[in-house]
């Protein structure tokens, strides 16, 4: 059936498609992350304050015009502000029906803002995908698998996949005792995926875009990774742990997928996703 639709034929979904979001059709429920707050926006942890909303981009550049998406016109674009180390996160929030395997796939590209006539291949620090999950009511844990492709760090090429299980401390937000927050996006605490070095197709000027395939599998029963694949490489995830913490009061059956981008220079970094597919075995 998938081959009847060329848009689906380039995906490898599990038994049931939970969502297939083609950003030619709109935002499809993908929204900018906002940190927790209570009473005043000033109560938000500082790292969350600069985060912004995603946009539908036709991937236009000053030298050529519109690049367009993998298919059609628009891709979902998550952009940082033009300050080194800035991050941005776009996510989609749903819940799951049954504990079982899930799999996120997307076609993506990343580029820095093309505001200099230089290769600029080290100006994007990373792009990543984070799941934010919690067991059903009465379950034990909130689980947050973090995966990123570290492109460069402080101007040094890295070109490797990383994961993060180390937690950041929780902070009380406001005064009611109902709201807490932790800055899980903190730049420290990442570990290398075993054998996770991979060079991608950046191309030769910052205005040429090549789309890449990414697949991340996770098992909600065991709360362990099942797969990490990018283009022609599949990585050993057997020893990788997700970030895990005690279950929280209002997050039962949560199944969020987050798209992360971080910059490594005082210019904007752009994380484009042409389309995204979440599937499950249930």
């Amino acid at each position: 059936m998938a081959h009847a639709d060329p848009r689906l034929s380039r995906y490898d979904p599990l038994g049931r498609i939970i969502y297939f979001d083609d950003f030619d059709e709109g935002y499809n429920g993908w929204v900018g992350l906002i940190g927790n707050y209570e009473g005043s926006l000033d109560t938000m942890l500082p790292g969350y304050q600069p985060l912004m909303q995603p946009m539908l981009s036709n991937v236009t550049h000053w030298d050529t015009g519109s690049h367009g998406a993998f298919d059609g016109t628009y891709a979902l674009k998550t952009a940082t502000r033009p300050v080194k180390g800035q991050q941005n996160v776009t996510l989609k929030r749903i819940t799951f029906r049954q504990l079982g395997r899930i799999q996120f796939e997307c076609y993506f590209a990343f580029k820095p803002e093309a505001n200099t006539m230089q290769l600029s291949e080290l100006d994007v620090r990373s792009i990543g995908v984070i799941f934010d999950l919690q067991h059903g009511e009465g379950g034990a844990n909130r689980v947050m698998p973090h995966i990123r492709y570290l492109n460069a760090l402080d101007g040094v090429p890295m070109a490797k996949w990383q994961y993060k299980f180390r937690r950041q401390p929780f902070h009380d937000i406001g005064g009611s005792g109902k709201t807490v927050s932790h800055y899980h996006l903190a730049p420290e605490g990442w570990d290398d995926v075993p054998g996770g070095a991979q060079k991608l197709c950046y191309n030769e000027v910052p205005t040429k875009i090549n789309w890449h395939y990414l697949k991340i599998g996770f098992d909600l029963k065991t709360m362990r990774y099942t797969e990490l694949r990018c283009n022609d490489r599949s990585f050993d995830v057997s020893t990788m742990l997700p970030m895990t913490m005690p279950a929280m009061a209002n997050l039962w059956c949560m199944l969020n997928v987050c798209l992360l981008v971080e910059n490594d220079a005082d210019k904007r970094s752009f994380f484009y996703v042409d389309s995204a597919l979440l599937s499950g075995e249930f």
């Binding site: 938000m44 036709n58 628009y74 803002e113």
Partner: protein, 113 residues
């Protein structure tokens, strides 16, 4: 019949504007019309004459005034807005706040096909 899509993006949240301030570039080529809303969370100082200019761009980097301008809110809780259409792809606001004044704002861009 398909209904027209619409979308609101908060383009500035709890930001403090003084002197000249610009919002981050926003791509909206799919939309035919847009309204910028600016709400003052906190207005401090002499805000008479504070104004926003809508700007457009071909590439998100080089900007030109679109011609639409509107006054910025001059007291806590006040809201002002400016409407634009036929703007191409990129939009932003360039705002001028008089010396000695500051505006803490929430700004939204409401888009519709």
């Amino acid at each position: 019949m398909a209904i027209a899509r619409s979308h609101t993006a908060t383009i500035a949240r709890n930001e403090v504007w003084s002197g000249e301030a610009v919002t981050e570039p926003y791509e909206a080529g799919w939309a035919r019309e847009a309204i910028f809303f600016v709400r003052a969370l906190e207005a401090v100082g002499p805000l008479a004459g504070a104004a926003a200019q809508v700007q457009i761009s071909a590439d998100g980097m080089h900007w030109v005034d679109e011609g639409t301008s509107f006054g910025l809110p001059d007291r806590d809780g006040a809201v002002t807005f400016g409407r634009v259409a036929r703007f191409g792809n990129w939009l932003r606001l360039r705002c001028r706040v008089p010396d000695g004044a500051t505006l803490r704002v929430v700004a939204a861009l409401t888009l519709k096909e």
